[in-house]
Symmetry: C2
Subunit: 342 residues, 2 copies
């Protein structure tokens, strides 16, 4: 597989981006193409041991930043994001991965890869990190002001993804909302509810509250890019708040510190038990680590594009590349087209 | 203080509602008036030891359910929510507390208590549960489709609350958003950003992501009732997901169970340490318990109204009553009026 990786995507680029690409090349042996200003990218790559790895650099002199709007994206044809998209368009690569500005990636994907016929706006899609069974979640942040018709298209694409890629028969589709009743939600959501309810084409189960969503109440969870982004970022924020709570109440007070020291003999005595608990503990921590998610898939364009979190570390970039591999292997784009009949 | 409590508010009413009222009457010695169908309310009350408590029942034969819209609220004048609001309006009580339908409470408050002059829509306000220092958060779910002007009013009311009730000088006001840049957010949010930025009356710091909000980046966090509701409910959902993760990875697997048993001698040896850690652990658990929040304050009407979670248990109802006591004692309604100059 040939995967293009934006060397200048993440907030701390090019460090995590290049390191993640090296980790991925080592793990799966793919051909990795790093796009970015050539000298800077090569300098960064030189910090790693790349012997035996299939990594090359393609020059893209311009860089799109978090401040760049779609005008800048249109203008900066030599930016890493545009060059990466064009390589996918021209069949020189199978997928593009960036931890850069979501809106810039969206605009570039629309310019260079074009939308799938009939799709008005793409959505950023992920396998929901807050359930045990696979649940398709979209939109994580591509389209912040969708119309009800666009939400309906998100639902259709999500259902096709669930059915053809995850193998879920007749997937249950729900709208993320502040209550289960039909009249809950914003005006746009209520209209989308009506469209989905009447269409009859999807297994629409109605509105789903966050508490039900994390219990796996649906196979496809649909929302607009603003709410989806707040939802996912709130989950991350809560995790970081809990860490601070632990710090403040269990590690900082003097009595707690004394307590922790007094606990040490007990931990030594209990060592066999701790060793048996370790694998479960490891899996627990792994599930709470957003870096394991890697990035979202931009659904609705003619190519595989994975957009990672701006705060991505090397592990997150590596996992974003894993998401790209999975999407290519699962033939997501042809599947969506076949499902839409285009 | 005289507080009216809706005996038929919560999803499992009247059990938790009446039990919570009894707990509150015992804790703080207020006069508590339970409103609801008289016989049913008295039957429920009879299950408790109320000797020496100042609790009475006021008959309200009708009940508003989660399905009732504002038409039903207008019609059902003898419902517990309407009767409670009217007692506050007529000076027969200082505050009304309900764990019922938020939209019904909102409609009834507007009918019976009237909005504060100049305020277009009320907001459900809380002291944000995800920070260490007090942060005013609104709207939690009263107004799902506000205009930019309404969001601006929420910001003003929130700032007055922060200043006059919490004693925060020149409170920093932010909009909950999917990114810090001005152009982030929905169309309505972007317009609200412009209004707040230009007004010059508030200490507006711009857009705030969930991760910054939990770090205490602002004193007043403003959002629409839909996003605010999803934000809070997502936080609750993540907490319940983490509980399920612990169950699945640390308690369910056979090796983990054996590990936990083998840990027992260690825990006995470490007992002094555990005892010292206990107070911190208790505070930690307390901070994660949504029942401690109790309910939100309906800001923008002529009276103190606290709306609790439909899933409230007795402890949550008790704490909702505590929120009502605090709001009355802090003279929230006169403060907001004075701040608005009406």
């Amino acid at each position: 597989m040939r995967i293009v990786v934006d060397a200048f995507g993440s907030d701390s680029c090019p460090g995590p981006d290049v390191a993640g690409a090296v980790l991925a090349a080592r793990a799966w042996g793919d051909e990795i193409v790093l796009v970015g200003p050539e000298d800077l990218t090569r300098d960064e790559l030189a910090k790693h041991d790349t012997a035996g790895l299939n990594i090359r650099v393609v020059h893209a002199p311009e860089v799109l930043t978090m401040e760049d709007h779609s005008d800048a994206v249109r203008r900066k044809e030599a930016s890493s994001i545009r060059v990466g998209m064009q390589m996918v368009r021209d069949g020189k690569a199978d997928a593009f991965v960036s931890a850069g500005n979501t809106i810039a990636c969206l605009a570039a994907a629309i310019f260079d890869l074009r939308r799938i016929r009939g799709i008005r706006r793409p959505a950023l899609c992920t396998v929901y990190p807050l359930t045990f069974k696979p649940t398709v979640f979209l939109d994580m942040g591509a389209t912040v002001d969708p119309t009800p018709e666009i939400l309906m298209q998100f639902a259709r694409m999500g259902a096709i993804y669930a059915e053809r890629v995850l193998g879920i028969a007749d997937p249950r589709v729900g709208l993320l909302a502040n209550g289960e009743e039909e009249e809950k939600g914003t005006l746009v959501l209520r209209d989308a509810f009506g469209l989905l309810d009447e269409s009859g084409r999807l297994n629409f189960v109605g509105n789903v509250e966050p508490k039900e969503a994390v219990k796996g109440a649906v196979d496809v969870l649909v929302t607009d890019g603003f709410t989806g982004n707040i939802h996912i970022k709130t989950a991350e924020a809560v995790a970081s708040f809990v860490k601070r709570l632990i710090q403040r109440y269990l590690f900082s007070p003097l009595w707690s510190k004394v307590g922790l020291v007094l606990l040490i003999p007990g931990l030594i005595v209990g060592l066999p038990g701790l060793l048996l608990l370790a694998p479960g503990l490891r899996r627990f921590v792994k599930r709470l680590d957003y870096a394991e998610v890697g990035g979202g898939l931009l659904l609705g364009v003619n190519g595989v594009v994975i957009v990672g979190h701006g705060r991505s570390n090397a592990k997150a970039v590596k996992h974003a590349i894993l998401r790209a591999r999975e999407a290519v292997a699962a033939e997501v784009v042809p599947s969506i087209k076949a499902g839409l009949g285009v």
